[in-house]
Amino acid sequence: MKKLKNLLISSVTLLLIACGGSKEPEKTFTFYAGLQDDHAAMIAKEFQAKTGIKTDYVRMSSGEVLARLKAEKNNMTASVWYGGPADAFVAAQAEGLLEPYKSKEDQYIPANLKDPGNYWTGIYVGYLGFVGNQKMLAEKGLEMPKSWNDLLDPKFKGEIVVAHPGSSGTAYTMVATLVQLMGEDQAMEYLKQLNQNIRQYTKSGTAPGRMAGQGEVTVGITFLHDAIKYKKEGFTDIIISAPEEGTGFEIGGVALLKNAPNPEAGKMFIDWVLSKEVQELGKTVGSYQFLTNSNANPPEEAMQLKGTKLIDYDFDWAGNNRVRLVERFTNETNTDIPQK
């Protein structure tokens, strides 16, 4: 029995040490990151090096961040939400999870790339478009689609992949774009038709780009900077195009959280990430979005997208109609999803 007792005691002690050890010291700063892991890691490291404040981050998808913020409402553990689509920030603001903050860099950020009430500020802009696999297209005798309309061609049956708007901000941007472009009923009709060509709805918004790169699928719908990144990483068969009818875009945002544990560091952080120098750091870790600071030079990799026709995307509207539109999308397309 003695052995058993000792084991029990030592494990309980270990447990206590483990919780005691996790009491956070006062001078740390934590942010939730909605952008890619290496980007977040680089930013955390640089901020810590610059300010001496111990900086930690957790990377999550925008839906995960939002769910967690709701749960942590009364006891925020992070101070800032950095990266992630603006409509998720709009939803967070509607839930009373954000604290307005007007950064000193605010003057350099164009008005259409930030919230008028200063609840969030844009850090980058990414365009929605098509990513194709050259080899697969040639093999199937298909042309790279150049418009939303091209995607409806029956020849693309089973060749297209896009994320599900229920789990992906990217896919929701597509739905919201189409609704703003064509009107709601027509957009739903379009999505129903498109559904017949969809091979699979993925969970993550970047997956279609990777699948196209690997040749798992012929065409993916995703943010084009992700496709550029994949191409740079070696998926050389990737080609991209933006729909000629016009396309939607995302603004990656940054926001101060309500009841943040270390608001001073949070404000410092927001000023810092909005600055020209820090925005330009993104390309060193493969983030090829356009930047929001008017002084910052966008990565040359993004320049091929320069002439893209953009719609006048309404973020507030997109954020406020999200639940309804996703529900409608799910209901209307479900009727046609092949249930294998």
Partner: protein, 571 residues
């Protein structure tokens, strides 16, 4: 009538009295019930509360929404179908492996044993990743070897394949422990009396195994329907409830509908659990009088051995192939595009991704030790003792397995983001736990306890309690009985439980997605992130490191076990 009531009261009083006398027993029961109340029931209650709250008021609207949405009925049906097919196949595979390693005279048993335990030491979605690399549109086999252009791995069949590969080890581990406990003399007596191998198998071995088989089926079924990561990676358009819960709760910001769906899933699991328990409890399976008295004469007949052996080899080769891809993938530049050798993925990890490796291992070790001990004590209490609250304890600890991980995680965040005071005072009973290591360890323990308890109970059910009673009558206390009689008899179950808990803690996905914090980062979310963003190489490198760590720990545990055996033999 009054006499009857009096005698029941008397009986209960007697139970209570005994409980007080035996302090060890008393405190273990109290402690177990407290843990269960705070880490299973309270979070679940909060999830339930959320499911019946609509716009700030009590309402069944979320349930109405769940059922009225087109597609949701199909999704519930999908989930059941998947669970049934996956657990039946897993059971068959697990049974073949367990039977072969315990009954047949064949070579390479260690290899088969290793292969059957391999799938538990890696996160399930890794098997899904391998399946895509092998059988996807540019898969090594489908496209490279067979030249298939339109083979579809995403969907029901891909999901079944992946789930069976991930879950058959659970069945194997449970069954192999039971096979080892069957005393060969019973079977041999039947053989001596002229019964054929087939007759012995169908009239003695199989009936003895029935509770184990039912338990294994239950466990795999519940795992299968609660599984989140495989359906996400490889399910394609075949949606299951747990994926839907994630989509509603995380993607759609509809926590109400998500929790309502979770309650539906929970109801299904509990129904199955109750069904199985009632069936088993009606029969007595006490057949073994302690340890198997001696080694079994292994079956050598070629007509039995050969077909089993060959099917085993095919299965083994297949599992091996799935796993070989992971280390290979970690040294390959870019899968499907450039197969050149590289170390860059490991360099990437050692440059800025080692924290999750250390922290996951550290927390898993702590959780494993506690889970191992706690599960055996609770199993003992449930199988051997009568006490008030016993069925409560049994039901809730096992039920923890049936709760989808995402919901447990969310339940923890909702429940432990506040402090709990003693009513009307400022005395804090439970501090804020979100973001701490404690809550992650508790999640590990609660997720793994049910499996440990179940395997403990199944082993105990095969052992005649009279042995322990004899010890008790001779004056030994509960703790002495556990230590000197019970534990040696269920040692195998205990150690396989340890291995299982450790591996499961290291590879848990759904629950801890919500519990990781800036301070405590874990491996599986890191791997998931890398799969998500297409860094298959880095994901494979992380998995390889993970597999190495788990194998090392397994090796150490097995070594300790062998050492102990020798010690006993020397005595």
């Amino acid at each position: 009538m009054i006499n009857k009531i009096n005698s029941t009261i008397g009986y209960k009083k007697k139970l209570l009295k005994e409980l007080y006398k035996d302090k060890f027993l008393f405190f273990s029961i109290l402690f177990s019930i407290l843990v269960v109340a705070f880490f299973v029931l309270l979070p679940l209650y909060n999830v339930f509360l959320e499911s019946i709250t609509f716009k700030g008021q009590y309402s069944l609207q979320n349930y109405i929404d769940s059922f009225s949405r087109s597609g949701n009925i199909t999704i519930i049906w999908n989930t059941l179908k998947l669970g049934f097919v996956s657990s039946t196949l897993s059971l068959i595979f697990g049974f073949i492996f367990a039977y072969a390693t315990s009954y047949l005279d064949i070579k390479g048993k260690k290899v088969f044993d290793f292969i059957a335990t391999l799938p538990i030491i890696s996160p399930p979605f890794v098997v899904a990743m391998s399946a895509i690399l092998l059988f996807g549109r540019v898969g090594l086999i489908t496209r490279g070897l067979l030249g298939l252009r339109n083979f579809e791995i995403y969907g029901f069949h891909g999901l079944v394949l992946v789930q069976v590969l991930s879950f058959f080890p659970i069945a194997y581990l449970m069954l192999v422990g039971l096979f080892k406990n069957i005393d060969p003399s019973v079977e041999e007596a039947a053989r001596d009396l002229g019964a054929s191998r087939g007759k012995v198998f169908s009239t003695i071995t199989l009936p003895l195994m029935l509770p184990g088989i039912a338990n294994a089926f239950l466990l795999v079924f519940i795992q299968s329907i609660a599984d989140f990561s495989n359906p996400v990676v490889i399910g394609g358009n075949f949606t299951t409830i747990s994926v839907k819960i994630y989509q509603e709760g995380i993607g759609n910001f509809q926590l109400g509908v998500a929790t309502a769906l979770a309650m539906i899933l929970l109801t299904i699991s509990i129904k199955i659990f109750v069904l199985q328990r009632n069936y088993i409890n009606k029969k007595s399976y006490i057949t073994v009088t302690g340890k198997a008295s001696r080694a079994r004469d292994l079956i050598t007949e070629k007509n039995i051995v050969r077909p089993i052996y060959y099917s085993l080899i095919v299965l083994t080769a297949f599992v091996f192939l799935m796993y070989a891809l992971i280390p290979i993938g970690s040294f390959v530049n870019l899968w499907g595009v450039d197969y050149g050798f590289t170390l860059k993925h490991y360099k990437y990890i050692f440059d800025f991704g080692t924290t999750p490796i250390y922290q996951t291992t550290y927390l898993s070790v702590i959780a494993t030790i506690i889970t191992g001990i706690a599960s055996m004590i609770i199993a003992f209490l449930i199988a051997r003792k009568e006490f008030i609250g016993k069925s409560f304890l049994e039901f809730t600890t096992i039920m923890a397995l049936a709760i989808p991980g995402t919901i447990i995680g969310l339940g923890y965040v909702i429940s432990y983001n506040v402090t709990y005071n003693i009513p009307f005072t400022n005395f804090v009973v439970i501090p804020t736990l979100t973001g701490t290591a404690f809550i992650i360890i508790m999640a590990f323990i609660i997720r793994n306890l049910p499996v440990g308890i179940r395997s403990g109970i199944s082993s105990l059910q095969q052992i005649d309690p009279s042995i322990e009673e004899a010890a008790q009558i001779l004056g030994a206390s509960s703790s002495t009985v556990i230590r000197t009689v019970t534990i040696p008899m269920i040692k195998d179950a205990f150690f396989s439980g340890l291995i299982y808990s450790f591996a499961r803690s290291m590879t848990l996905v759904s629950t801890i997605i919500f519990l990781i914090s800036a301070k405590w980062k874990l491996l599986t979310p890191a791997i998931m992130n890398n799969i998500d963003t297409g860094r298959i190489g880095v994901a494979s490198a992380y998995c390889t490191i993970l597999i190495v760590i788990v194998s090392l720990v397994m090796f150490v545990i097995k070594l300790t076990l062998d050492f102990k055996k020798q010690e006993l033999n020397n005595e």
